[in-house]
């Protein structure tokens, strides 16, 4: 699972990430009190990471723009493997082909985590949704992403949904139209 990919990226121990992330979330729960606010902030943090991770991804894979949403799903799947060392399945395509899910049976972020009962509404993995949204926005794809199923809440898998909204236009240089 954790063997290095063909893109030969440098690795760190996943527990360092698990615990660092867990400590951050715990601090936020303390600071913000309301779990919904924490979920929102986790999404934003993911977004900030996504807009940078995409550059790393593009530079390492030499990948071009996506041909279609299917292609996008495949590329994000590769990204999961590169960055989290896990391989989710792409499942549950909507009939219109504009929505799909990633199904994760393991996830380094939640490896040592148990949610206490009073934090059941916390979306611990929202950081992944934010990262997907941020990364895709940088390649002109506007999407929504949210957690559908969560292993921390007793679901058999963690399922992350992605919905295509629209294609963004290239920015024009100042003073031209």
């Amino acid at each position: 699972m954790s063997r290095s990919t063909r893109f030969d990226t440098k690795k760190v121990n996943s527990e360092l990430v698990t615990l660092t992330y867990g400590t951050l979330v715990a601090q936020m729960v303390k600071d913000l009190e309301n779990p919904d606010d924490v979920s929102k902030q986790l999404d934003r943090i993911g977004y900030n990471m996504g807009i940078r991770l995409i550059e790393d991804y593009l530079s390492k894979t030499g990948s071009g723009r996506c041909l279609d949403l299917k292609d996008t799903a495949d590329k994000i799947q590769t990204a999961f493997r590169m960055y989290l060392g896990v391989q989710p399945n792409v499942v549950n395509w909507s009939p219109a082909g504009d929505e799909f899910s990633f199904s994760l049976d393991s996830n380094p972020l939640t490896e040592l985590v148990e949610l206490p009962d009073d934090l059941k509404q916390l979306k611990y993995c929202n950081i992944i949704c934010g990262a997907i949204r941020g990364a895709l926005e940088m390649v002109q794809l506007d999407v929504q992403s949210w957690v559908v199923q969560d292993q921390l809440k007793g679901d058999p898998n963690t399922e992350i949904r992605v919905k295509f909204i629209r294609r963004l236009e290239d920015a024009m240089p100042a003073g031209e139209d």
Partner: protein, 187 residues
């Protein structure tokens, strides 16, 4: 704990993972950068920011003690000062960062003080080292981890991070620690 009839496997029912999982360095670097920014937004001064990072590091360290000592040593801990320092420098560092720390030195002036050096800590790899070297060293987070490990294993100390030969962690043990160590030596 009942969960509306769901049969949930508690984390305690699962075997402890071997801890061999790996995540890309880029991913950690960006996560850590968000941690720094989060702390920065909460802080008004540089020492404040440093304290927050140190504190977060300590909380990570506390959890690592149990994880590592249970997993690798059957819960057996070190009793000698030098052994715990060597453990931190080699085994612990290697498990966490994939390599040993570069150097361990005993201070010439103070027998309670040790220096652990690392040219390029993982948290600083992508950060410009400031010219004046007075500003924040994010490795204070790692200093927090070390401190928690030492304190938690019975060697109370203060650990700080400094810009010197890359990054140097200054480990200052409480007087009693060194005293105790020389007593056990005599036996």
């Amino acid at each position: 704990m009942s969960l509306g009839g769901r049969n949930r496997l508690s984390i305690l029912d699962k075997p402890l993972s071997k801890g061999k999982g790996e995540v890309s360095l880029s991913c950690f670097a960006l996560l850590f950068s968000e941690v720094v920014q989060y702390c920065q937004n909460k802080s008004t001064t540089l020492p404040d920011l440093q304290n927050r990072l140190h504190e977060l590091g300590r909380r990570v360290g506390v959890k690592l003690i149990d994880l590592y000592f249970v997993r690798e040593r059957n819960g057996k801990r070190e009793t000698k000062l030098l052994n715990i320092l060597l453990y931190v420098k080699s085994t612990f560092w290697k498990a966490l960062f994939g390599k040993e720390a570069d150097k361990l030195e005993h201070s010439n002036d103070d027998e309670n003080t040790y220096y652990l050096m690392e040219k390029e800590p993982v948290v600083n790899r992508f950060i410009s080292i400031p010219r004046d070297k007075s500003s924040l060293n994010c490795a204070v987070f790692i200093a927090g981890i070390i401190e928690a490990v030492l304190v938690g294993t019975g060697f109370p100390a203060k650990v700080t991070a400094h810009w010197h030969k890359g990054t140097t962690y200054m480990i200052k043990f409480e007087e009693s620690v060194v005293g105790r160590d020389s007593q056990t030596d005599e036996r």
